[in-house]
Symmetry: C2
Subunit: 199 residues, 2 copies
């Protein structure tokens, strides 16, 4: 075959379908019985496959949950890249994070459940924070690149951290009432607060 990857004929499609199904079932069970209260056996069995197969689609139990927010992080990073280079860093970050809002409010109940799940489980939360750290570094690197600063510039890193912190403080409050509040407004308020910060 010359095009080893070109035809996602049936194979790739089925793979995606199984993965989707597995993720769906997992999220439902985890939200219902809690992260620690759900075993992989239960998830696999409920999805109609073996435990071993679960691990062929997801690296770990945490992965099923964190993957969603992971993709969202990549999306935010992409949006940041598309922003004008002369925009002040914090404004660019705010805009990038705002771009992710519709994705969450799109299916608000599910997103809220996911966030609540993460914030309720220490193990999950810890992994999530670690992921946020990577995102923070990537955002800071992008900000640095667009204005010719060194990639590990401390000031930009602090700015990126502050922006993500704003998000992390707002999200759980939004998730607490199943995403009925105006997430976009909450974010803007918090960013305004941040901008008025004076030592």
């Amino acid at each position: 075959m010359i095009w080893k990857t070109e035809p996602p004929n049936m194979a790739e499609r089925k793979r995606r379908a199984v993965r989707e199904e597995l993720g769906e079932v997992a999220l439902r069970l985890l939200a219902e019985h809690g992260f620690e209260g759900t075993t992989i056996d239960q998830i696999a069995h409920a999805a109609g496959c073996s435990r071993r197969t679960f691990f062929r689609y997801y690296k770990s139990k945490e992965d099923v949950i964190l993957e969603v927010l992971n993709d969202l992080g990549d999306f935010v990073l992409d949006v940041l890249r598309s922003r004008p280079a002369d925009e002040p860093p914090l404004d660019a970050l705010r805009a990038a994070l705002q771009a992710a809002v519709p994705v969450m409010t799109g299916n608000a109940r599910k997103s809220a459940a996911l966030i609540r799940l993460i914030f309720a489980s220490p193990a999950l939360r810890a992994r999530y924070l670690h992921r946020q750290l990577d995102l923070e570094a990537a955002l800071a690197a992008e900000l640095a690149a667009r204005q010719g600063a060194p990639a590990d510039d401390l000031a930009l890193r602090l700015t990126a951290a502050a922006a993500l912190k704003v998000q992390d403080l707002v999200l759980p409050r939004w998730a607490e009432d199943d995403g009925r509040a105006d997430l976009s407004a909450l974010l803007d308020d918090a960013f305004a607060l941040l901008k008025n910060q004076r030592a």
Copy 2:
């Protein structure tokens, strides 16, 4: 016995000694073979006790390492409490974190090894971040209490987060060369940078 806890005669002393020994051995082995590359069996055996006994002294493998920084966090919180209430929040935080510096520079090589260990292991790092989050909340609550603000004040939470972030960005750089740099100066520089942050 009327004084059930009063005489830490032999029992408590031995307990502390065993715990100390266990922690010492663990830190050495973990620093040598990495966090994932060291099993609890190895630690327990090297310390001359059974695996079960290890867990009677430490809740988990992560606990052996994180305990130290945990205590340090409590110390920082205590220092913050002793600061004048009218001091600007960020200055108070800087002073509190500076107070922890001598503790680390006291035995710099060991502290640096510990920090490198944490930052090298994803699992450990994730747990560490979670701990920092608790500390952040506690610091923010203290700042709020001293100036009569609500305990979950967003602005103060952001300030506490920024201060801890400064520390977390400086520490690995300091640890990279075995703690030979001037940690106190590095911290002050970073805090100065933070203070000059304008959106």
